[in-house]
Symmetry: C2
Subunit: 358 residues, 2 copies
Amino acid sequence: MLKRIGKHTIEFTEKPRIVGFGSAVGKKEGEGPLKDWFDRVFVDTTMGGETWEKAEAMFQQETVQIAMEKAGLHKEAVDYIFAGDLLNQCVSSSYGLRGFEIPFLGQYGACSTMAQTISMAAVFTESGAADFCAAVTSSHFCSAERQFRYPLQYGGQRTPTAQWTVTGSGGLIIGAAENGKFKSCEDLLNKNGGINLKKQICIEHICTGRIIDMGITDANNMGAAMAGAAADTIYRFFNDTNTTKDDYDLIITGDLGQVGSDLMYELLKKQDIDISSNHKDCGLMIFDREKQDVHAGGSGCGCSASVLCSYFLKNMLKRQLNNILFVATGALMSPTIVQQGESIPGIAHLVHLKNCTE
Amino acid sequence: MLKRIGKHTIEFTEKPRIVGFGSAVGKKEGEGPLKDWFDRVFVDTTMGGETWEKAEAMFQQETVQIAMEKAGLHKEAVDYIFAGDLLNQCVSSSYGLRGFEIPFLGQYGACSTMAQTISMAAVFTESGAADFCAAVTSSHFCSAERQFRYPLQYGGQRTPTAQWTVTGSGGLIIGAAENGKFKSCEDLLNKNGGINLKKQICIEHICTGRIIDMGITDANNMGAAMAGAAADTIYRFFNDTNTTKDDYDLIITGDLGQVGSDLMYELLKKQDIDISSNHKDCGLMIFDREKQDVHAGGSGCGCSASVLCSYFLKNMLKRQLNNILFVATGALMSPTIVQQGESIPGIAHLVHLKNCTE
């Protein structure tokens, strides 16, 4: 059952479960601090294909496949796919996933898409609309650079506030809670090395973002453009649930990077909230900023998606983490409208994940 | 409650209601056969603004505003907005709707977006996640032409299969059924000239589309690219619900145009289904093809959205129509990936609307 808490938070009383997840990244990400956590590292950025766009589509296909395998599910058992990406017309999702023949609902939340697809999948499974839903997103450095900034061959200088788009994807399968609905994952326990996924990671709450415009017009300063949205969503969620940062092991943002994280702290401090002591940003984790020359950090839909679906969910399975807020952040701009002088609005969607005790 | 029927159809047992709707179109649409049905006709395609993109954003803002007014709702009463459009990164939605400060979930279904946003809004209201949700989309001939085809100034010749992107938007508000949840539209009856909207147009079923690729590679033949998806969704819905075309007053497709409609008939005939006698295509209704030089018909997210939210919903209020299937169709391509030699996959989402009898 879905229960509304406060103004914008939804509580899931049956608690949908994450029954499988997968991650795949490119070469640079595979050389970073999280390299041992990813399911796949592809050193060829075209995945043996012709173009970066087609490669990115293959990343999504790959992570959905891994997630279904880990869940012990055939594609026929998955009722809906929620997916989106940064490419124009979200073609990474539609081309990467067309082969599955699963009803498809394209989502667009820019780099917040992972949290948005999880939110939708959770509402669909909890409400009885579906038994299993896939949630997936991706990004690719090369396809994003040429679409949003300059052709790679141009060799443009990057400003200090610029972030490095992650080449990668994260995908997961959400199943309805155990009210007899599980049809085809009896063998989950064995397939996951003794860990019974369907008993463990629950979706407790979601809090959907509002469009927040901080007036930033610099397309090389996405962190700042998204900081206000992250602060707004975290603040509203704490209010709705009457909790504080101390109630969670970690608060994880998507890709604020250093500039955006600092700005978010500042904005939250105005509300007497200080999350800096248990906050992590996926954009600051995926690369080694000293050695990998990524300026303010990683970014892209694939950043928060690949880090969630590797490091964080695996640490939840190990019970190193039990209770986290995943706040993916997005900048809802296009190059066209920024060139027309518009500022860049941000959005942040929150998902509360918890290890189930029963 | 959401009840699953067959494989991919959801039945709403409480039946969410359309409590307000609005339409706004441009000059050419305002000179077409449906001119008297639209709420607003703007003869200036930039809406007095600077660019076509910003004008398109204003179209969405306008229709949501009209829909809220007709529903007698303030923006604070609307829990979620589901919106999307054809522009890169869906900026018409995010820029047009940021002022409302309503939690925002961007949807991307290309020209099928209106049916997709209605589907999501219906699931959210029926499941208890929301009391009221807005669903809106738009398109604009000038912004679409320069993004998907050629700059208008180039004066490119159009092929006979080409369609004309509608400048317009349609938006509506869906409210949870009358289980005491309606908070702020007691005065609906008076605001709508004696018609009590909340008692009338119900969402009975939705059937979500799959990505269907017919192998079409001509970006000037979208109708053909989408015909397979429309046939697939209609066929699956008839199967799931054990109904035939005779059970409905009309089956309405979004923007197949002449070429796509004919191809859809042919595909359905292979399954022994002939819907030609009670089928209408919004793309064939919005323009006078004899006089308005639009080749195969109208297209774009705004085509099915503006025709649904004017002619069709108003005819339901008048009880000229009581029971319709709205099947919006989309082509999930981008110019980049088509230039890379890829074919154009289609998708079609179905919404079953019915006048409530009680």
